[in-house]
Symmetry: C2
Subunit: 167 residues, 2 copies
DNA sequence: GGCAATCCTTACTTTTAAGTCAAGATTGCA
DNA sequence: TGCAATCTTGACTTAAAAGTAAGGATTGCC
């Protein structure tokens, strides 16, 4: 289970835009430089995000990118849905081995695991907005830690020790 | 965020072994056939799991694979750790763009997100054993749903409606 | 209108993950 | 002992993701 390059870089680019003052915008070149990636690569990412309606682009000289809505209204789940193309396109549509369809026709013990896992991740991402990430790292970390603790309460035993977070 | 082929197939192979009666074992050919994958591919997966100490192999005729410990003692988190090689090898060790090291030297808003996400997934997987997955799909689904609801209590508002689960 | 800055789009190349192959090693059995 | 069944291992091939390149389209400014 891992975060793809597209997801991570896309998120990072959006975070740059979220830090702008209202009315400001960034060009592809600026975004690329800000993340240390090529302009071509940044272009592809912004194209995806634009197509999905998360950012607004202006063409021509003086053009650039800005968030399409305020950072408070953009949840990480929205972003990941866009950048992770085939997110859960039905379990066993993808990994079917040699056959056309999965061998586990009826009863499958894996399916609920993958589905639930996906929902759990989605639940967590829905609780975080882009705006929250513009804070300092230690504050972001603390907020995230609260979500984890919150999610794990009720079934909880052992929450991993807080990392950078002072209780 | 997605589950890799190795993770899924590996988990499925292990699940076959978990369904065996004590003392029984399966050969590579049987495992491969059971999942609809090639024997070569199954061999590679079992090799990984064997190296990690999750399964025990016997060589020679009458050989085969069995779980190294009881299915009740194997948590999904153990399995995923083995099959997902470079799981979280430090944020920004992998995606460094064009530079050698990440541009976000000090303060980073993304890092806590990735770390927390990883911990949340891990928390969920630690609560599920292989043995639980040998039940019928609807029972597994119900058990998993309980974990999700449990995790989301406290911060919760909107839990996605139960799917196959009757309340 | 013309030019420069910028975004848009498609096709291509590179890199990485996934899967295959073939030769070797170990065991059980006759 | 010799053979057949099985796992082991590393190198190889193929498929998918990531990243690049190049030309087209739109806008603002003079
Ligand atoms: S339906 Fe294919 S493994 Fe679950
Ligand atoms: S340290 Fe590189 S993006 Fe966070």
């Amino acid at each position: 289970m891992k975060v793809s390059a597209q997801e991570e870089y896309g998120l990072r680019c959006l975070l740059q835009l979220a830090r702008l003052s209202p009315g400001e915008s960034l060009t592809l070149g600026q975004i690329a430089e800000g993340e240390g990636i090529s302009q071509a690569n940044a272009g592809k990412l912004m194209w995806l995000l634009n197509k999905a309606g998360l950012v607004a682009s202006t063409r021509g000289t003086k053009g650039g990118y800005a968030l399409a809505r305020s950072a408070e209204e953009i949840h990480l789940s929205d972003i990941i849905k866009v950048l992770d193309e085939d997110m859960l396109e039905g379990h066993c549509k993808s990994y079917t081995g040699l056959q056309e369809i999965c061998v586990h026709t009826g009863d499958c013990g894996i399916r609920p695991v993958l589905i639930s896992l996906h929902e759990i991740v989605q639940s967590a991402l829905e609780r975080i907005t882009l705006a929250q990430l513009t804070d300092t790292e230690s504050n972001v970390d603390q907020a995230l830690y609260q979500i984890h603790v919150g999610m794990s309460r009720g079934v909880a035993r052992d929450i991993p020790s807080p990392k950078h977070v002072r209780s």
